[in-house]
């Protein structure tokens, strides 16, 4: 082959490598951007007056005077709407009976949708469900609900393919000839005054209890559950892992036994996470009965097994990186093997071991499959410390799944789902960042 061709081929090959790397980075960006942008929306958003009313009535945040001033403004803005609705009722009573029934049901629908947007009608008894007692707390949701008030959704099957197409019909068409049609332009023009959206920073999303199946409030139970599960897994896995690594590096002689142990560890690392979950159910709960049903303890034990190989591998690497001269010096001073290990080798290896621990913490916090059958429930209150031995808990990872597939109103609480994913991913990234920084410092120290 000619030299020139070979050079071109070489360059092409290099280009291919760059493309692959670029695709990888792009994939990461595409994945993280929506999660970060929309996840931040759980913390910073335009909160309506309903949000502030909820915060005052349930958490005692804000001042009564300010809230009442605002509520007075809001109710004057809303008054014409309710007047128009009442007027419509009388007009319908006077309408020809053939149309009356149809109009009545249309008006009832309209009133329902208005209640979803603005909260219960003034003077009505408060509904039982919390979500009925308040209007839309977020402006972005309020815009969606406003659209639902203004338009009705129908499906148009007239196209040639026979596949339905969504069309929006203005709702005022239903009330043709009644004075209530003027409600819709009024509502559209004055909805800002009725809800008064302000940019709100809601950092308490992290520490508030969830209310009414995550329609209101924050993610405290999940945060706490994830914390307990992760902490438990680390407390179990780290002593086991570090001691195993000590045995493998300092005590054991390479041979059949050690080779067997090592291949067991890599097998354990390769077991699918869902199988860990089944094993936890069959062993820790059904056989050992560490708790009567799912519990944080059973979940932590299962997670500990899952992260054990990672901890062992990291600790082993860190211990092997300790220079042999350290050991020889300690032995020369008359220390036994064990004393050498705990007073010289382990302190020297500590940063490396910590790196491994931090990474496995991230892994334990993010795993879902092992805790489905052993620890996780969908709804729960924050646990007390002594309840971890007997009670199941909600956890970030499980509730992300739960809220975006099994929740009764998946679309209504997108911001909570995004917020949870944001918090979980942020947590794991933070842990990994810590590990990266730790590792960089070790590398620097080794170089020096």
């Amino acid at each position: 082959m000619q030299l020139h061709t070979r050079h071109v081929l070489d360059r092409a090959f290099t280009g291919l490598g760059y493309v692959a790397t670029g695709v990888m980075a792009a994939a990461l960006l595409v994945l993280l951007l929506p999660i970060f942008i929309k996840g931040a929306g759980a913390f910073v958003f335009r909160g309506t007056v309903e949000f502030r009313r909820f915060q005052f009535e349930h958490n005692g945040r804000g001042t009564r005077a300010a809230l009442q001033r605002e509520l007075a403004l809001v109710s004057t803005a809303r008054a014409p709407v309710y007047a128009m609705l009442d007027a419509a009722e009388q007009e319908i009573a006077a309408a020809p009976p053939a149309r009356q029934r149809e109009l009545k049901s249309a008006l009832a629908d309209l009133r329902d949708d208005m209640r979803v947007l603005l909260g219960p009608d003034p003077g009505q008894p408060a509904p039982v469900l919390l979500r009925g007692q308040y209007g839309q707390t977020r402006w972005d949701r309020a815009r969606v609900k406003l659209h639902e008030v203004l338009f009705t959704e129908t499906w148009d099957y007239s196209g040639p393919s026979g596949i339905g197409r969504k069309v929006y019909v203005p709702r005022s068409e239903e009330f043709e000839g009644l004075s209530v049609t003027s409600l819709f332009p009024y509502l559209e023009a004055h909805v800002t005054e009725m809800l008064r959206p302000h940019v709100t920073l809601y950092w308490r999303f992290l520490v508030d209890d969830s209310r009414d199946a995550h329609f209101f409030g924050g993610i405290m139970p999940e945060m706490l559950g994830t914390f307990y599960l992760t902490l438990g897994a680390i407390l179990i896995a780290v002593p086991l892992g570090v001691l195993t690594a000590v045995y493998l590096t300092e005590y054991a002689r390479e041979g059949m036994v050690v080779r067997f142990l090592r291949s067991c560890m890599s097998t354990l690392a390769g077991v699918p996470s869902i199988v860990f979950g089944l094993f936890g159910l069959a062993f820790f709960i059904n056989t050992l009965q560490v708790s009567r049903s799912k519990s944080v303890l059973a979940g932590s034990l299962t997670l500990a097994l899952l992260i054990l190989p990672t901890v062992i591998r990291a600790a082993e690497e860190a211990i092997r990186a300790v220079p042999q001269a350290y050991r020889e010096a300690a032995l020369a001073l008359g220390a036994g093997t064990w004393r050498t290990v705990y007073s010289v080798v382990l302190p020297a290896a500590l940063p490396g071991i910590l790196t491994g621990i931090v990474i496995s913490m991230g892994r334990a916090a993010g795993e879902t499959a092992p805790i489905i059958f052993t620890a996780a429930v969908s709804v729960g209150v924050p646990l007390k410390l002594w309840e971890v031995f007997s009670h199941p808990t909600p956890a970030l990872s499980w509730n992300i799944y739960n809220l975006c597939t099994e929740h009764e109103a998946v679309d209504e609480i997108r911001h909570v789902q995004y917020g949870m994913v944001f918090v979980l991913v942020g947590l794991v990234l933070l842990l990994n960042l810590t590990a990266i920084v730790l590792r960089a410092r070790i590398a620097k120290k080794l170089k020096a």
Binding site: A12, S266, W338
Partner: protein, 381 residues
Amino acid sequence: MTPPQVKRSGLLLSAGAQRRQRVACMLGRGFLFAVASVSAVAVLFIFVYIVRDAVPFFSWERLREFFTSTRWYPSGSPPEFGALAIIYGSAMVTVGAVVVAVPLGIAAAVCLSDVLPFGARQIVKPVIEILAAIPSVAYGFFALVVFAPLLQEHGGRVLAVMVWLLGLPLTALAVLVLSDMLARLLGRHGQKGPQGVFAAMLGCLFIGVLIWLSRRAAAMHIDSGTNALNVALILGIMALPTVVSVSEDALQAAGRELREGSYALGATRAETLLNVIVPAASGGISAAVILGFMRAIGETMVVWMASGNAAQLPQPLYNFFMPVRTLTATIAGDMGEADHVTGSARYHVLFVMALVLLLISFACNSVSEWIIWRRRKRLGV
């Protein structure tokens, strides 16, 4: 541990102290060994307990049904446990993921170990680490909430964009290489003019093909965004870090001497890598492929959330736009209902599935272990 008593007469220990120390040493060693064997015991117990709960399902007819029938009606009366479609679903998304992850991963690994300058490497490595660290449920959330609606509503356009994204770089490379070869064939090599003409012609041809392809892709309609394609892509990205880091290790381990030898013989970097380094590291790279495969087949949350969970064979079999169901998702999804009737066939069949997964991952693991071990032995490390 108390320091041993030193005899006044010399540095020798008393007989008692020596005995005590030996016993303590033995005990300590025994304790450490016991701790170290926890993972071995765990593996053993996992096998025992999965098998123990799978055994009640074992009978000749039931197993034959399990592996040959596609009728999965565990709550019907009589219940039917044909898992062929589910096994096929698992295989399908896993193969899809491998097809995505392996070429990308190996190319990226080669780039990372031999092409990128040191500074760029320091940026790319954390990218890989982060990709590996993101929890699977976050990938699943992305697949379900962001990617699936996108596929469903703008499926054709998404596919067209993918065609362009993949096609453009490949086209550029192919034009470069082919125009050069063409020029050589026609004896006009080294002349800028004719070669540029060839390149332009080829470029137009390839771009035309790309336009045609993307038009066809854009005309496609995807009925459901939660399908095998979605899951395969996401799983591929999840398996990518494994493939990259393991194969990069293998490429690094091939050693400096091989590279220098090859350069000394006048080979270009591409020739060195393709003809010398990659063959030398082929064992490690195949281990990387196997580990990526394992990561994809054992993944639960993404497939549970975004594969559509339809226990049916896709029509036709290679149709990636159909919803599928996998072993892991079936275990996760059905255990909630089966839990109340512990001991029923419905409960035990899930353990059979777990056993299948466990055996597959055990086999893959053993093979990759063996490959790595053989390489070590050959290199004499």
